[in-house]
Symmetry: C2
Subunit: 463 residues, 2 copies
């Protein structure tokens, strides 16, 4: 190790940049370098819908950080330089080799789907990069009908934005419900209905297997679903309802670590194995963000959590541990998988486990759904579905939906799930009073109540 | 005790109504009665400015609850009925007597100031009731210049609203800084400057001792400050700058318990003495809200905290304890004194102790001020002044100011102060990512840093 510690970060992802910024915040005296294989850094897929809502702007107007910003903080950035290999003190790119004291793998994720064949057409887009965003913006004036493949957060935020721009949008997903990773179908139903009213159609429960040129109109694209063939579909959609001017692929992300397989130990789910300090199997090498699985707190089990706040948390832990002797390293506490967005006029949020995931919980669970009025003289309600251990009463999961804001409640519920607090412990919580939000019976008062439903635990199922 | 438990609540205050609603939520099988000496229930002074911002409405459009709403929940309400006396099983009003199993005193607060003499003029208002609000609304079209006495939350919210309505507003307070109970002067300075730009003038550091008719213009009112006399003032303000069309008194509230002095034990500060279960010295009698002092968590010392969320919390504790045997009663945890409002375009919040209160803390304190950018491509910042124990690093106080929203941060900081967590324990906190608020270095990352200032503790002062 030289006089000056040298940290190299593979990947100009949100996680990679956060690690670099955290390292610089903690020490002015270390060398920090980011290696990025593409020409862009810090891109986040959900930015796409945000940019679409601001016509006349390109992705550059919304970059949260630039290479120049990083250089200004004395962080070196090498774009268009792809890492080929590394060991415990050297990393080799397609251009040259660098030595390091610590290496952080922040290579992000790829999109994986059962979509086997696509026509080689520039009207089929992913949302994994700035160039695609600019292309979508460029095409948009000529577009009437859009297919979005993927009814997760990114796909539906995009569908919502496109519908607001007056487009006819069809959403496809192989899951039979929207946002199924984070919400129970009946909780999220108001969002689905609001999107339908805004000209968004849903085609759920079947895989899209192929994207072909439309036989009815060669300027358009057609989606083939599983157990269908393109011609049969053509017959069904004689009105051309299945033909699109633009297809955007926004399927869930998966780890993209195959190229590291011979260098560090991978888990079965293709994430990089890390210990609780986020160290890989190779000395001096850490991994963060979408490259790893983390502890999903309510289940105390490793989960792949492809969310920005998970990237941020793991980046900060790894950055601190890069600078610490192994005896003083901090542990990554894991994630409660908290997400929040605004969709079709609703604020929606989810934290902890969902109804579908209760089958993975060992003990018995109880669940209930409560609604509170937050605003005086308003019929608007905040609705909350939540899950807790039926014996310990530890809160395990919560889903929120309202036209009103609920950041304060979300913060308290997230904190409770992350620190395994009981529903009773929240009963004395009060929020600061403001003139228009002042009904004294809050969400927290209603958590302990009688209209609950029992769900058998995994241990019972196994008996 | 009869078959059906009977709870009587003295005072249709926010606290009293919250106690009644909580009791009803917990049990359908008890008798609940509220006794209110005036004709109105549930009024909150800070509602005034909110109503002023909605022209064409009266206070009735903004009542958060009515007598009818309560009756619908099978809660009896007797308005215009003043309590004269009570013992441990009976309460006597100016109309009749009622027996009870439990009594809750929720009589709220009065306004107390060194303002000795006021002209008997209906253009001098307090903000303690609906009728005053309606009167202010009625007078407003004829009003050009308003004096607001009191630069606390209620007074300044009112000044802000009146300035927005185009009025010229002068604010008076005997403290030399605005909002001095909750904010350090330099933290709140941007709000003071924004209010000045909006035609609000400040006259701080002197008591208003008298309100007289203007000698220059008999249709107007004039304020006399301490060490002044009205004539001398008249000479100074030959341009009539000290003459007003309307004077609103919004001074800080004080306990109003003199009439109970022979019935229950009072503290030196005139609050009703209560134990940790909020029981008074008289069996079966509880007291809540502005009638009592509560534990101010950062100082672990009783404080008078005249805030709605304190009323709500104590009301719920007392309601639960009314229904519990003494062995199962819950303790009131006390208050972190968290407040939040919007003023002159700023969101401002304070929780825990302020700079002025550090002299009451036994040990040494460190303080720092940090600013973070929350929004991409924005120069807007969230600024936070905070205080923590220099040895244990337990967070003691925080003040927030920004043009951006910060409910999530406020919830986390309040929870940390209320549960005495360290600044280090907050470092791993992440917030859910949203497209426009996505800078990864959050407030919580900056709490542990080097630009701190030491403040000697009380123990050191005494050495």
């Amino acid at each position: 190790m030289g006089d000056v510690m040298k940290v190299v970060i593979i990947g100009g992802s949100y996680a990679g940049i956060t690690a670099a910024l955290t390292l610089r915040q903690k020490s002015k005296a270390i060398d920090i370098m980011i290696l990025e294989k593409s020409s862009q850094i810090g891109f986040i897929p959900s930015t796409v819908s945000w940019i679409l809502r601001h016509p006349g702007h390109s992705h550059e107007d919304f970059n949260w950080i630039t290479v120049e910003d990083l250089v200004e903080q004395d962080i070196s950035v090498r774009v268009n330089e792809e890492v080929i290999s590394f060991d415990d003190h050297n990393v080799t790119t397609d251009a040259r080799s660098y030595s390091f004291d610590r290496l952080i793998i922040a290579t992000g994720s790829g999109q994986q789907s059962r979509l086997m064949t696509t026509t080689n057409d520039d009207r089929v887009m992913t949302v994994k990069g700035c160039h695609q965003v600019d292309k979508i913006i460029e095409l948009l004036p000529q577009v009437t009908k859009v297919a979005v493949i993927g009814a997760g957060l990114v796909g539906l935020e995009l569908a919502d934005a496109l519908a607001d721009l007056g487009k006819i949008v069809h959403v496809y997903d192989h899951f039979s419900a929207i946002l199924s990773r984070h919400f129970d179908p009946d909780v999220i139903l108001p969002v689905e209905e609001a999107l339908k009213k805004a000209n968004v159609s849903f085609n759920l429960g079947k895989y899209v297997t192929e994207i072909i040129k439309s036989s009815a109109n060669p300027d358009q694209l057609r989606l083939v679903l599983e157990h269908e063939d393109g011609d049969a579909l053509g017959g069904q959609s004689s009105k051309g309802t299945q033909d699109f001017d633009l297809v955007v692929i926004a399927v869930n992300t998966r780890p993209d670590n195959a190229k590291w397989e011979s260098l560090v130990h991978l888990n079965e789910d293709q994430t990089i194995w890390v210990d609780e300090h986020l160290r890989t199997s190779l000395p001096n090498v850490f991994a963060i963000g979408d490259a790893i699985s983390v502890n999903f707190i309510p289940l105390d089990y490793p989960y792949y959590i492809s969310l920005v706040n998970n990237a941020v948390r793991t980046a900060k832990v790894a950055a601190l541990n890069c600078l610490s002797p192994s005896t003083e390293m901090v542990k990554d506490v894991g994630s409660a998988r908290d997400v929040k967005t605004i969709m079709a006029g609703y604020e929606i949020a989810s934290v902890g486990l969902t109804g579908a995931e209760t089958i993975f919980y060992a003990s018995d669970i109880e669940t209930a759904t409560i609604s509170v009025t937050k605003r005086v003289k308003s019929s608007e309600q905040l609705t909350c579905r939540y899950f807790y251990d039926s014996v310990t009463h530890v809160l395990l999961g919560a889903q929120l939906i309202s036209h009103d804001k609920f950041d304060y409640e979300l913060a308290i519920l997230t904190e409770a799930i992350a620190t395994q607090r009981t529903i009773e412990s929240l009963a004395s919580k009060t929020m600061p009073y403001t003139s228009d939000y002042n009904y004294p019976i809050s969400l927290f008062d209603l958590l302990v109540q009688t209209n609950k439903v029992a769900i058998k635990g995994q241990d019972d199922h196994e008996n």
